[in-house]
């Protein structure tokens, strides 16, 4: 990963031109990127029938990237530093926040990779081949970008990471050759995303113009001392910068691409977008807003609160209106519900805008992170079961899940568990408590109205999640057929289920982020 040189970097003098790089700190994104390149090259030399090898290399690479988090767990490391006005500024910081998000991103990518293994194999068997070398390369590059993003501490790195995470994703969505829906989804995704990113760049340049620095920490200090004339520019910059990240989170009004893109994409890619894509978005939001733009919290706090309310309402109402017999309604339902969940994720960030003390903002951010971890595990699990059902029911309608319990009790029970976690109802205890932390962040910040809106949304969401859950246990139509489940898919479902159950037993594992500051 290269880092754009900043102006202060040039001033810093010859001694700093050659930097010593802390390779251990940057290992997680680097390993993902290097393995991605390696897979692309290996693809040239692997015969057609051995392509499966590429998938296993990628899985191993992602696992290695995840394991590389272990040695840097204890201490906070920074690299790519320059001496700024006053103190040292670093472009890459591996603090607790970074590590947690990297774990989420790499774990999410790993589960996606496991899902993809069987999807690619099925596609190969069906003759609708997806180019494998490209697929794995794109997935790993996107994961590398997403893993870089939480560590970025200047606007340039942030935008670069955002692009690295997004650009491969467009290609991934459009990778189904000859599938009209896939190309359409990719095009929609591409056009709206490029616009959003361009606006973010514009915003970042405004902020740079107003403050004269790209480092988040320095922006935070400088924004308070902006001249009167430039204040408007700075404010506009703050708002515009948010756009790109709001797009990734799929916040209203940047959510229209979601259902078509999810339906068009290969299912594992949809799962990836719903978890890792969102993680990219809200991580960026947290970094930009809470670290850099804290000065303007009176601008973005209320804006984000309204955005959160709109996002959750739009997502849940649309999910409620899905007819179960429509083609791909299961994926559409998950897509819209993920928009609704994005709304919950935004609530604590909005609450951070109302915080009186930094510690309060920190704990609000912790609520988002805790919620995101829960969401990542169970949403990927739900997608995994959807992929499993999709193997026999290509149209993946919600009504195809009727009587799943009779056909395959374990997958029905796990899907029910994942859905109840998303709904926040026991036995999905972790879902319940994650919602409680989000609620308490809102109530704590005095956002009573937002808590009430969220409560209404939780009930709407309960309606469709429960309807789906109930369908699983209805009597099946016709004789239940049995089929073999591929091992990687089983592993993915089992991993997600184990995570969900473990978190339900010991919610403290993720909820501790709401008390200990992450930065």
């Amino acid at each position: 990963m290269t880092v754009a040189p900043t102006d202060s970097g040039f001033v810093a003098g010859a001694a700093n031109v050659v930097q010593s790089v802390d390779w251990l700190a940057i290992a997680p994104p680097t390993i993902a990127a290097v393995v991605g390149l390696a897979v692309l090259v290996t693809d040239l030399f692997v015969p057609e029938r051995r392509k499966e090898l590429l998938g296993w290399i990628s899985v191993a690479g992602l696992a290695a990237a995840g394991l590389s988090l272990l040695p840097i767990l204890d201490d906070e490391r920074s690299t790519f530093c320059v001496v700024g006005r006053g103190d040292t500024l670093c472009s890459y910081t591996a603090d607790e926040f970074t590590l947690v998000i990297q774990l989420l991103v790499l774990g999410g990518a790993l589960l996606t990779a496991l899902l993809s293994l069987s999807t690619l194999k099925d596609a190969r068997a069906a003759g609708k081949e997806i180019p494998e070398g490209e697929f794995w390369f794109l997935l790993l590059s996107s994961a590398a970008g997403a893993a870089l993003l939480p560590a970025a501490r200047d606007l340039a790195t942030l935008v670069v990471a955002l692009e690295v995470a997004s650009l491969p994703a467009f290609a991934l969505v459009g990778l189904k050759r000859g599938d009209r829906r896939s190309s359409e989804g990719a095009l929609k995704f591409f056009l709206s995303s490029v616009t959003a990113t361009a606006v973010t760049l514009l915003g970042a340049s405004f902020v740079y113009a107003a403050t004269g620095t790209l480092h988040l920490a320095e922006i935070g200090a400088e924004l308070g001392e902006v001249d009167g004339d430039l204040r408007t520019l700075a404010r506009a910059g703050v708002v515009l910068t948010l756009v790109g990240f709001a797009f990734k989170v799929a916040a209203v009004p940047f959510h229209f691409w979601v259902p078509d893109t999810y339906v068009g994409a290969p299912l594992p890619v949809a799962a990836y977008l719903s978890v890792v894509g969102k993680a990219v978005g809200f991580t960026g939001l947290i970094l930009v807003l809470v670290v850099a733009f804290q000065e303007y919290h009176d601008v973005w706090g209320p804006a984000l609160a309204v955005l959160a309310a709109l996002t959750m309402t739009a997502g849940n109402v649309a999910a409620l209106r899905q007819r179960p017999t429509r083609a791909y309604s299961a994926v559409r339902l998950l897509a819209w519900s993920s928009v609704g969940q994005a709304g919950y994720l935004l609530v604590p960030i909005a609450a951070a805008g109302y915080a009186d003390r930094p510690s309060q903002a920190d704990s609000a951010v912790g609520s988002t992170v805790a919620y995101a971890l829960m969401y990542a595990a169970v949403n990927l699990g739900a997608f995994a079961v959807a992929a499993l059902v999709g193997r026999t029911h290509a149209r993946n309608r919600v009504s195809d899940y009727r009587g799943l319990y009779a056909r395959s009790p374990l997958s029905a029970l796990t899907l029910a568990f994942f859905l109840l976690c998303l709904a926040g109802l026991p036995p999905g205890i972790i879902g319940l408590f994650a919602k409680v932390t989000v609620f308490s962040a809102a109530v704590d910040a005095g956002l009573g109205w937002l808590a009430v809106v969220m409560a209404a949304n939780v009930v709407i969401a309960l309606y469709y999640y429960l309807q789906w859950t109930a369908l699983l246990f209805r009597a099946p139509e016709g004789e239940p057929e049995r089929y073999r489940v591929p091992a990687p898919l089983t592993v993915a479902v089992a991993l997600a289920a184990v995570l969900g159950v473990a978190l339900s037993g010991a919610p403290q594992l993720v909820l501790r982020f709401t008390t200990s500051g992450l930065f």
Binding site: P426, L432, V436, T437, S440, P507
Partner: protein, 526 residues
């Protein structure tokens, strides 16, 4: 009564809460060799009886070991940190208020398991049925045993999924919509309740019920209390159910299988009123005082409304369903409970708690009986049963008829049976409500509620006349019905015996609840 060391008591209480959950998981696994029984279905139903029986025994031993000289003290307490981030603790304990409810729950669930062993409701496999009943039991027992607000909420929610499936999978006609209505109403209420609980927890800094009840935290200003009581009260009132939030109840009861109805009326409804007594009265007394007159007003409307609805259903030609009628009578009975709570006096609250238990015993029995009638005649529709002249249950199945008449007169509050004391104490409480509450208003409520008891008597007697009496079996070729079976006797006798016992010796129960209520109302100071 008998000395049991504290650590054993702790273990017993933990077992009561966790035992059914473990049993539920075990029910889903294949039976181990040696316990396979005659068939897998029989083995799993037996498993249900064994687990609920063990829990009942544990509950009885707990009740025996309970220090009856200090019922206001929390006993058998366990207090472990669970989620430090939210300050959620696994805090369990029983006092005089929760102990009778714990025993009632364990008893009713055991009787239901026993009844199902011989008469499994029609539907899919018993494996899931047993597991769901056990989860339901765990949820209700936990609701009465936990002393942490968030844990209370968790337990409160835990019963929803099992009850939903019990109605939706093993229920009768129109079960799907009824189950939906049940779960949606309750969820809507409980989400609002969660906001109220969070408000209390965040403003006072703790979720611990005992600490909250004793401390009178300055963070809980009157306005906070008013908001919290409104939010929590709505959630609890849906569950209770309070008029006008009751409309899920008749549908759910009508559609539910017998066992589901018994548990719903006997146990689940008590969770709502228990929440009022355990959470709202001690923690937010100021807020409660603001809303007490409204609560009482809704309660008496519920009493009269429930009775009138029953009268309408009992009328010939109204096509009234017996289960529906008993469900509406529950609305009336729970109205008395709410009235007692709304008086905020020891007399009223004791009456409320007594009526709670009595309603659990009597209505549980009535649902069992109606279920038995429905099994024998194939209908619970009053008009079909009674036709022109009456169903003549006395003639066709004398014991069943006698039991039904017993249940009916117990339900109308005949002195000497359990139904009497609770309602009378609630009315007494309304005669002299707590300081700060308007006495004339409560006197009016009392008068209306007393009128409600008359209406209750009226419809119950109509039901008895139409179902039990009629032309003698000899005069027509009406076939005799199977009389009470052995297992039915086994399941119903405890309820009958306890109804009589509580009616003749109310002090046994009031001696437990009164000191605890006094302490709660005095802000934790005894």
């Amino acid at each position: 009564m008998i000395g049991i060391s504290e650590s054993v008591m702790q273990f017993l209480l933990a077992l009561i809460v966790a035992g059914p959950l473990i049993g539920a998981v075990a029910a889903l696994l294949p039976a181990p060799p040696g316990l396979k029984g005659k068939s897998p279905d029989q083995a799993v139903l037996r498993h249900g009886v064994v687990v609920t029986g063990a829990v009942l025994i544990a509950a009885i031993v707990l009740a025996l070991g309970f220090d009856h000289d200090h019922p206001s003290r929390m006993q058998a307490t366990t207090d472990i940190r669970w989620i430090p981030a939210l300050d959620v603790r696994v805090h369990l304990g029983v006092d005089g208020i929760s102990l009778p409810l714990l025993v009632l729950t364990a008893l009713l669930t055991f009787l239901c398991a026993l009844y199902s062993y011989f008469k499994m409701p029609e539907g899919p496999s018993p494996r899931a049925f047993v597991a769901l009943v056990l989860v339901l039991e765990a949820g209700t027992l936990a609701t009465f045993a936990v002393l942490d607000l968030l844990l209370f909420f968790l337990a409160f929610e835990m019963v929803l999924i099992p009850m939903y499936f019990l109605i939706a999978r093993w229920g009768g006609a129109r079960r799907g919509p009824a189950a939906w209505k049940f779960i949606l109403y309750t969820l809507l209420g409980s989400v609002v309740m969660l906001l109220g609980l969070l408000l209390i927890g965040l403003k006072s800094g703790t979720f611990d019920m005992v600490a909250l009840a004793t401390d009178n935290d300055p963070g809980l200003t009157t306005s906070v209390q008013v908001t919290a009581v409104l939010a929590i009260g709505v959630g609890l009132a849906v569950k209770t159910p309070m008029w006008p939030l009751h409309s899920w109840l008749p549908d759910a009861h009508t559609a539910a299988p017998t066992v589901g109805s018994v548990l719903l009326a006997g146990v689940l409804l008590k969770m709502g009123t228990y929440g009022f007594v355990r959470i709202l009265l001690p923690i937010a007394p100021d807020g409660m005082e603001t809303f007490a007159p409204y609560l009482a007003a809704f309660a008496v409307v519920g009493i009269v409304y429930g009775s009138l609805a029953c009268l309408a259903l009992a009328r010939p030609g109204a096509k009234g369903d017996l289960k529906r009628l008993i469900a509406y009578s529950s609305v009336g009975h729970m109205g008395f409970v709410l009235l007692g709570i709304a008086t905020m006096t020891p007399t009223g609250v004791n009456g409320a708690l007594f009526a709670n238990i009595a309603h659990g015993l009597i209505t549980g029995l009535l649902f069992f009986l109606v279920g038995a009638v429905k099994d024998r005649t194939g209908t619970s529709d009053l008009d079909t049963l009674a036709q022109e002249s009456g169903a003549a249950l006395y003639g066709k199945a004398p014991r069943l008829g006698a039991l039904l008449a017993f249940g009916a007169v117990a339900s109308l509050g005949l002195p000497g049976l359990a139904g009497f004391w609770g309602e009378m104490l609630a009315l007494f409480g309304a005669f002299d409500p707590a300081d700060g509450l308007s006495r004339p208003a409560f006197l009016t409520f009392m008068a209306i509620a007393a009128f409600g008891t008359l209406l209750t008597a009226a419809y119950m007697l109509i039901v008895v006349r139409r179902v039990c009496m009629g032309p003698g079996a000899g005069t027509e070729q009406a076939p005799r019905l199977a009389d009470v079976h052995g297992y039915e006797f086994a399941a119903w006798t405890p309820l009958v015996a306890l109804t009589v016992l509580a009616g003749l010796w109310p002090a046994a129960l009031l001696g437990l609840t009164d000191p605890a209520v006094q302490q709660l109302l005095a802000g934790g100071k005894s």
